[in-house]
Subunit: 265 residues, 2 copies
C-alpha cells in the first residue's frame, strides 16, 4: 500500500509560515521524518490560490527533493503552478488532482499527456459531489476512460472515490467503501486512493473515526492513502490491517515494525 | 450488534478460583460491569471438562442472573452441564456451541429441539478446521440446514465462521471475512458471530490485531461478537465502525457514548 505523507500542506497551522519564510530546514525535516515513517510520496501544497503559489510550489519540490530521494504529490488545482513544479521535479510525480469538473479537467489534461506522472482522479463533477456508490462509479468510469484515452496508463491513475462525513449522511460510509471494491472489480489495474479525515467531520474524537475507517478501506482493497505517516497509532492500525487482509504475508512487515519499536496499540 | 461479554470464563486467570470458592460477590460484579459496558449476553464457562462443571455452570447462571437481568451464553460442550444450566436459566439462553463434529452434534441437538434458545454454530467438522471460505460455507450450509430441520428459527442461529491466526496462514483473514459476507448473502436471516483473539495468536501486540479485525468484520455484516465489553478501546473502535458502516445512523450511539465519557482513541 502506497503512503502519501500529508504534512507539507500550507493549510496546516504553521506550514504556510514556513513556506513564506522560505524555511528550508524545517521543510527538510518534515520531509525526512515522513519518509522515515514509511511515506512513499510526499504531498506538497503551497496554499492553493495564493498569489505566489506557482513559485512556492516549485520551491517546495526542490526543497523536499534536496532532502529526500522520493517523489512528490503535487497538490494544486492550478495548471501553471503544476507546470512550474513539474519542471523542477525529479522523476515521475503524482498530480493531486484532476476531476470531471470542466475547468479542472481542461486545465490539467494537457499537462498529463505524454508524461509518466501518476494522477489522483477525484470523483467530483460539475454536478457536484457524488452521494451514492453508483454516482461514484459513473464519475470514475468517465475519469478512467478519459485519462486512458489521453494516453495515461491505468496503473498511473489513482481514483479517489471521495470520503464524506457520516455525520451528514449515514450512508456515506458504505457508499465510499462499496465504491472502493466496485472500482477495483471493474478496473483491476487502476489504483484507489483516499484521505481519511472528511469521514469524521462534525463528530467528536475525529481521530477514532479516521483510524477505524482505514482498516475497513484496506480490507476493500485500497491501494494508497494520504495521511500523516508520523502518527504511530494510525500507522500501527494500517500495519495490522495489512496483516489481516493478506497484504503483508505472515505479518512480516508488522513484526518488523514491532521490532523497530514502531507499533503502538 | 449483539455483544457477548466474555469475562466469566474459568480459563481466565483468577476466574476458576472465584468459581471454586463460590465467590458470588465477585461474579455479581463481573456480570454488572459487563452489562453496564454494553453486553447483551454474558458468556459463562465453568471450566469445560472439569469434574464439577455441571454444578458450577448452573451456579454461575444463577449467580449471574441474580445480579443482572440478562441472558447467559452457556459455554460448554457437555450436554449434561448445559441441561442443568438451562434448567435454572431465566428466559432463552444462547448455547455456545454446537458444531458438525458428530459427538458434539448428536449430544447437543436434542437439547435444542423445541427450545427458544439461540445457538452458536461453529464452522468445525470431524474433518477438522476449515481453511478456506468455501470450506466454511460448506460447513455453515450443513449446520444451518440441520438446525432448521430440527426446528430452530434461522434468527436464533449464530454461525461462527472461525477466526484463525494470520501468523499461521496469511489467507485466514480474508477466508474468515469473506465467509462473513457470503454466509449473510446466502442466509440473510441467520446471524454471524465471532471471537477476535485467535486472529492474533503468535503475533506481538495481539490487542492491536484484534481491535483492527473488529471494524473489518463489522463492515462485512457481523451481527454479534464475543469480547471484553469493559475494554474501552475495543468498544470505542466498535462504535466508530458502526457509525462508519451505517449501523449507527447519524452516529447517535457514538456521540452518546462520547458524552457518557465512554470513548477512547
Amino acid at each position: 500500500l502506497l503512503i502519501v505523507g500529508e504534512l507539507i500542506n500550507a493549510s496546516r497551522p504553521g506550514v504556510a509560515k514556513l513556506i513564506s519564510q522560505g524555511n528550508s530546514e524545517a521543510i527538510h525535516e518534515m520531509a525526512a521524518s515522513q519518509i522515515e515513517a514509511g511515506a512513499d510520496y510526499l504531498d506538497v501544497n503551497a496554499g492553493t490560490g495564493s498569489k505566489s503559489e506557482a513559485e512556492s510550489l516549485a520551491w517546495l519540490v526542490q526543497t523536499v527533493q534536496s532532502a529526500v530521494d522520493a517523489p512528490c504529490c503535487l497538490d494544486s488545482p492550478d495548471p501553471k503552478a503544476l507546470e512550474q513544479a513539474l519542471a523542477v521535479h525529479n522523476g515521475p510525480a503524482m498530480i493531486n488532482s484532476i476531476s470531471l469538473e470542466k475547468q479542472r479537467w481542461d486545465g490539467l489534461l494537457p499537462l498529463l499527456k505524454g508524461t509518466p506522472c501518476s494522477v489522483v482522479a477525484l470523483c467530483v463533477s460539475d454536478e457536484g459531489m457524488p452521494e451514492t456508490t453508483d454516482q461514484r462509479l459513473k464519475i470514475a468510469d468517465r475519469l478512467i476512460h478519459g485519462l486512458t484515452a489521453a494516453g495515461l496508463e491505468p496503473e498511473n491513475i489513482f481514483v479517489d472515490p471521495l470520503v464524506q462525513p457520516v455525520s451528514v449522511n449515514p450512508s456515506y460510509g458504505p457508499a465510499f467503501l462499496n465504491a472502493v471494491s466496485e472500482i477495483k472489480n471493474r478496473f483491476p489495474k487502476v489504483k484507489i486512493i483516499c484521505g481519511l479525515s472528511n469521514a469524521s467531520f462534525g463528530l467528536p474524537l475525529r481521530f477514532l473515526i479516521n483510524r477505524t475507517l482505514l482498516p475497513m478501506a484496506v480490507e476493500r482493497g485500497l491501494d494508497a492513502v494520504i495521511l500523516d505517516p508520523t502518527d504511530r497509532k494510525l500507522m500501527s492500525g494500517l500495519r495490522a490491517a495489512l496483516a489481516l487482509s493478506n497484504r503483508d504475508p505472515h505479518a512480516m512487515g508488522y513484526v518488523r515494525a514491532f521490532r523497530a519499536g514502531g507499533l503502538e496499540e
